[in-house]
């Protein structure tokens, strides 16, 4: 299957564990507002907020907080360079 040009030419998805439930997901942020989250079955099984949620459920609040923290710390860099930390760290080849 083809890969998003933004992942190959820009910043890839990076692994991140939720501070609350330890679910391991892949995260990418192109800017402070933009967020991509890739779950897998192991992670969705761990997440308390996703369990039994309505289809309308937009996403886990704890994970959102974890991502915000990670962005401030620079663990998750912003593709647009607007703040965040080092680039090209481990996980560069993901997806």
């Amino acid at each position: 299957m083809r890969v998003d040009n933004r992942l190959t030419d820009g910043v890839p998805m990076r692994p991140l564990a939720c501070d609350r439930c330890a679910a391991q997901v892949l995260v990418r942020k192109s800017s402070r507002q933009q967020t991509s989250v890739q779950w897998n079955s192991g992670a969705t099984a761990l997440c308390a907020e996703l369990e039994g949620a309505e289809p309308a459920f937009e996403g886990c609040g704890s994970l959102r907080d974890t991502i915000r923290e990670a962005t401030l710390r620079g663990t998750i860099e912003l593709a647009d360079g607007g703040g965040g930390g080092e680039t090209g760290g481990p996980g560069r080849q993901l997806m």
Binding site: R2, D4, Q34, S36, N40, L50, E58
Partner: protein, 388 residues
Amino acid sequence: MSAVDSAPDDVRAIEAAAAPTRFARGWHCLGLSEKYRDGKPHSVRAFGQKLVVFQAGDGTLSVLDAYCRHMGGDLSQGTVKGDEVACPFHDWRWGGDGRCKQIPYSKRVPLRARTASWPTLDQDGMLFVWNDPEGSPPPADVVIPRIEGATSDEWTDWLWYETTIDANCREVVDNVVDMAHFFYVHYSFPTFFKNVFEGHTATQHMRATGRPDARPQEQGDKPKTTGSNSLAAYHGPSFMIDDLTYHYDTGDQQSVLINCHYPVDANRFVLQYGIIVRRSPSMTGSAADELAAGMAQFIKLGFEQDIQIWQNKARIDNPLLCEEDGPVYQLRRWYEQFYVDVADVKPEMTDRFEFELDTTRPVEAWQKEVEANLARKAAAAPAEGRPV
């Protein structure tokens, strides 16, 4: 970088494989069931075949292959006799289960007198047919959710449109992630946009603000929209339910919009859209019907512009995306699950994926554009402000 990757300065080539000749596994809506309840067999071209839809005497709607297994007569040109459809060629009678029940001029029905019968679902005023190239029945957990308003007196009846489009149906599905086209093609103004894919659903959360430069039906003393909130989800490959609330200066208005399609063949599909509107204290009787009709007109306009784009655009497997575009590749990865055998559905096609767009830059750019449009209109419009 692999050898096939191009250097940044090279001309970008559009890549596109031929549209698949296989058709998506899933429930497909064939339109309002009422349309098929006139006692006549109906011909439907779908999934590269010809089907016959008919209503048995007991009210059940059935879908069979149109071509009679006797000598190939077209059942959709026949007549309904009791619970069966009778072939126009030699009057063989076919039941909704696909079995030949009777041959009036013969002592008995021969062995193997069975044709293809398609699983159907008659729900909330719509008829659905199940397509599966592997021939399996619909799993119990693959369902079309009920639409409360569809059977309620507090809501208007369905307003329904259909049109045939010369393009592969992937084009319409792509739109679920395409935020920017909502501004340029549908005269909407998204301010929040998020997609979630999981299992067989693909959801779009969209909040939008009013578009005072582009709503001709809101001229004069009509209520004006200040924004909208939309939760739209594909349930399977082809049927989208959009819970859409418009915020008017006079209050909120709830509606349900259906956007669905079925493939005719690899390069043609029938697009359908339907709408119901909730009646409210401020929106009773004909006012709600009028509003529904007005919204339907507006939606129709948007789809007509989509169609114009689809019928002229190139199929493209390698779209070049900017950071303010939605997750086209991940949507197509989700969509792929409907085109492979069940045994070949990979976790990555159904695992949950979330994508929230950053609307900061688009909103800035579009605000300027709306202001410019309004200024141009004000300069051009006659004093009494008739719609232009």
